[in-house]
Amino acid sequence: MSSTTAQTTPSRADRPRPVPSRSRWPARLDLLQSLSGLALGLFMWGHMLFVSSILVSRDAMWAISRFFEGYFFLGHSVPWLVSVIVAVVFTLFACHAALALRKFPASYTAHRTFRDHLHAMRHEDTTLWYWQVLTGFALFFLASLHLGTMLLRPDRIGPFESADRVWSDSMWPIYLVMLFAVEIHGGVGLYRLALKWGFLEGAHPATTRRRLRLAKWTLTAFFLVLGLASLAAYMRIGMQHAPHYGENYVPAWLTGVAR
């Protein structure tokens, strides 16, 4: 034993750091997909809170929509500021959609195989991924329509303006489907994002996963209820305001100034 000596192992830190010889784009694209999804998911929740201000009062919703038009900084509304925000969100949305397409089933056979697998496994996170694909596919069209409208008519956001669009322009069925699609897609996406990169994992990953799942369903339920209540409020206002379709909302305390 005395004649033996321990072998030495060179530390990794001592060795030169070679660079990968294969493309680095898969890493970058995966990160970009996650970052764009994170940004859109957080935007979605913020957007829903702003939209639901109609449940507080018409004046509250008016104030929030004017806020994004710079009314309280510039003294007057500049609707194209909203178009700029929408353009940024639209760009993020388009990037996220293009990146997510990489993961979609590439053929009908792949789709059928995955569906068979899904039904056989009855595994929640696998099923939720499929819901993400379906809702993501629906959002290609629904969110593009909504974002396009907001991009081109940023001046039509307000208690009466939005309510007219929801009711008199018959957009409420689209908003109803979009509400479910976006809340399911975003909620599942943010949950998966945390698991994918191991955020918030802590010392007990299984417990964290259970809590994240509970948080996901709680938040999804909360935002769905909030969204449905807000949509109902816009529909009710839209019905009442239908005879005055196209007329903008002016808060009572500004009536003397605005008219």
């Binding site: 898969p26 792949a110 195989t113 056989a120």
Partner: protein, 242 residues
């Protein structure tokens, strides 16, 4: 004492070597015994009812990983699955993603070997011919435990069969492959850099193709921390590749 339960086993039958064979489910009735595993039920069935039934086993103790099969839709080890945990009607299918030998027997070995060669999943030591009379370099016990934890993988193929990504991307290395890279990435005796590991798993057929469905983690019979390891490897490969 109540009468023992009759189990109805619907077993996939097909021999690809036999041109006359067509895939079908064959139903058998087996009387359940206390503590009976699926492996025992299948053994009894083969012994008493149908000697032509093909399924794999070696250790009967969840160590060799030979008896993986799809049990009522989920990949499991037959030797580690008690029939009393299952309903009276059980459907058994061979693991998908692997070449079928016959009935419930699949060639997971060829898949594992190809994956191992592709990922070079063995220790790349500084000295390929070390002096075996010398003591190995000391290793921190906690690190040794971490490596051992990942080394417990028995290559049963359950994670591969449960993976939705593998269903759509046949070149995906699966959790078993990613776990191996995570294991050698931890080992200070392995001389490979993160950039070299990136060359092995830094693509859409590797860690960046994983869609975090986590069925691999949920079905692993050895309860390996696959969720944690894949997330860790993803962060590490991002640093190496981004």
């Amino acid at each position: 004492m109540s009468a023992p339960r009759q189990i109805r086993l619907n077993v996939f039958r097909h021999n690809p070597q036999d041109p006359a064979s067509t895939p079908h489910l064959q139903t058998y009735l087996v009387e359940e015994a206390p503590g009976m595993t699926l492996f025992l039920a299948l053994s009894e069935l083969r012994e008493r009812q149908d000697p032509s039934l093909a399924f794999d086993f070696v250790c009967r103790a969840g160590i060799c990983g030979s008896c993986g099969m799809v049990v009522n839709g989920r990949p499991r080890l037959a030797c580690r699955t008690l029939t009393q945990e299952l309903p009276a009607e059980i459907t058994l299918l061979p693991l998908p993603a692997f070449a079928l030998i016959a009935d419930l027997s699949v060639d997971s070995g060829s898949w594992m070997r190809a994956m191992t060669e592709r990922l070079q999943a063995w220790l790349h030591a500084a000295d390929p011919a070390p002096d075996l009379s010398r003591l190995e370099a000391r290793m921190d016990p906690d690190l040794a435990d971490q490596i051992y934890e990942l080394d417990r993988c028995i290559e049963c193929g359950c994670c591969v069969a449960a993976c939705g990504t593998v269903q759509m991307r046949h070149d995906f290395v699966g959790a078993v492959g990613l776990n191996k890279i995570a294991r050698f990435g931890l080992d200070p005796r392995d001389t490979r850099s993160d950039a070299e590991f990136y060359d092995l798993v830094g693509g859409d057929e590797g860690v960046f193709g994983c869609m975090t469905l986590l069925a691999c983690h949920d079905v692993c019979p050895k309860e390996l921390p696959l969720q944690t390891q894949i997330a860790f490897l993803r962060r590490r490969m991002l640093r190496a590749g981004a």
